[in-house]
Symmetry: C2
Subunit: 430 residues, 2 copies
Amino acid sequence: MALFSTMSKTELLNAQSELLDKYNRFKAGNIQLDMSRGKPAPAQLNISNDILKLSIDEYINCDGIDVRNYGILDGISECRRLFSELLDIPADNIIIGGNSSLNLIYDAFTRLYIFGSLGSKPWGKLDRVKILCPVPGYDRHFAICEELGFEMINIPMTPEGPDMDMVERLAAEDESVKAIICVPLYSNPDGICYSDKTVERLAKMPTAAEDFKIFWDNAYAVHHVFKEVKLLNIFDVCKKYGTDDRIIYFFSTSKVTFPGSGIALVASGDRYIEDIRRRFGKQTIGYNKVDQMRTCKFFGSPEGIRAHMRKLGDMLKEKFNIVLDTLNREFEDGELLKWHKPMGGYFISVFTMDGCAKETVRLAKEAGLVLTNAGASYPYGKDPNDSNIRLAPSYPDTDDLKKAMELFCICVKLASVNKLLNNIEKGDTQ
Amino acid sequence: MALFSTMSKTELLNAQSELLDKYNRFKAGNIQLDMSRGKPAPAQLNISNDILKLSIDEYINCDGIDVRNYGILDGISECRRLFSELLDIPADNIIIGGNSSLNLIYDAFTRLYIFGSLGSKPWGKLDRVKILCPVPGYDRHFAICEELGFEMINIPMTPEGPDMDMVERLAAEDESVKAIICVPLYSNPDGICYSDKTVERLAKMPTAAEDFKIFWDNAYAVHHVFKEVKLLNIFDVCKKYGTDDRIIYFFSTSKVTFPGSGIALVASGDRYIEDIRRRFGKQTIGYNKVDQMRTCKFFGSPEGIRAHMRKLGDMLKEKFNIVLDTLNREFEDGELLKWHKPMGGYFISVFTMDGCAKETVRLAKEAGLVLTNAGASYPYGKDPNDSNIRLAPSYPDTDDLKKAMELFCICVKLASVNKLLNNIEKGDTQ
């Protein structure tokens, strides 16, 4: 196919009319498809169903503690050990929380807001707090920052992670720059994996704020799909530079077993994890130890988790391939759409021509396909180029996904042609 | 036995020597007993063991929602309905939270600290925030207020609840008085039940602070032991006066099924529950719906919960009777020790002669019986009379409890005699 940008007005009008025909046929079909959120498909959930039937016959844990009763704020030791081995973080630096790593992230931000960190001034008492936000990123992270009145600064993503020149400069120069939020492996939504060099630079960079924090939301730590990418262990690197209290590390089994009934954890350096533990001691008597025991019994070992994730990875691979094959076929020249092929995680993030994302999402919605709102992966919902769209291929079944992708491609093209025609129109009247 | 206060120095010395003999015999026995925390005994936990073995075969809920996946911030509707019927609160005014009502209380305080309520100034931005604390009360409530820098004001307890003349006066006069924390039924630790009149006065009293809140920690709502005391429904009364957004109501099944793996909830008036829901939407994607379903399946109905609580009540009754019988026998004249017989809840709270609580607890500890720290049931851990001790009879088995109570009585008497001798000593040298 000829490049759209080289087409004459007549050629574009013909293309538009052809696309509109296809689009309207879809619209008449009254389909209802949803690629908006990173929800696992029922088939993925099914492989964890044994956890619903699992009987806890031994409620005394390895330390002789009755998990049915109060106590053990940090989490039972077999559970801390399981994740310690899985993630290669010392068990003493881990606290097992409730069902939601997002809630632990929220708690981490509100704790800093109210109390500061290790004696620093509470962030809520400062005139300005700035948070570095690699973009595109996770909308729920941004929503927390916005809620707390923190100012978010867009940091462009590169294939190696956030633009570290910019991160280093801002962190070093401005003491109101207090944190960076990272999804370092298979980032949401781009699927970017931070390079060793990026992790090292984050660990060693000087920061004007003495209580600078790295929110390390390792949500997809074991969510490999095409390949197992190795992420440098940030604890090891930070230890080397004496900056491990800078880390606030999060992980959960929400996308391992069941969203909402998994186990989440927070980890940090020796001093700061102690601070978190002390604050948690006011907040709760303890998290759900029965659920912790269930998780341990279901997986048995870190290898149990890895084997489980290989099954989930295979399921996701099929869906990722449908999306990627369609994109490769329809947009191989990269003129109307660009994307990065992720090796794991949950999302594929695409970039339309500038100014076409919102219109693409609108067109899709009108024809029955719900996509994540354009702009959602940027602070304040504002994509400066109106270009990024996050595709979440996990939930629909493969037939629906093929249909959804067919429609999506038509919408991208239609939005692009409309835009190009609009540009010509403007040129004509100037 | 003669009253200690009428004894001569010689008589007191004889009594002291006799008590010391008994005390030292205990000490030599190397016992290890704990009456410090309101932990259920293993026998109590056993009657909920089926929840550990319960298989969830139907994970699609009554609304057709897959509880294994994301969504449903408020909690699944069968669970909200279960507690709505149990507690007589409209289901729409209830949000099911995580495993810990204490955590919901903490969240409620931090939310007010950061955001205020319905447009009011955030409490963290005010110079002073004062919280009315009926005393004795629950140490963990006080710990949260202290952590947040809120000033706590002791409100004496009466047999009908907090001294309402004082509450009304402070709430009406001082706009920095922002809240009162109540455990309205079988209060921790006194076992006081708020009278209808008290509830009504709390609902209708004018408050200088427009965002005044009543923390209504109905932790023992269904924890009847000797008698089922009816608590006036604060929602009904507040509705009458248009003050229902004043209520923040908490309940959990921590002391129904298992501490730490139960279900907690928060409820409020129409407008404020909406505010909480919106804030929760930033904090989490949702609480554990599988645990909610487990709870519903285990109990089946509100009557299922009530029947379960009758069994627990019978178990506690035996322990309460051991404590109360011993106290009645040893301190019937009320000279050295006073207490209020609770009809339910988890605790028996006793008052020594002024200045004897700390010494009693110290003596008990040295002989192997751990009691709740003296003063713990007062803000800042400071009992102005050094008189109150909270007894938690649930955890020890009946033999241990008898032994513990025997030792406790000796310690009370010894501390009292020491005090009286000390007073004489002081008198002698003046």
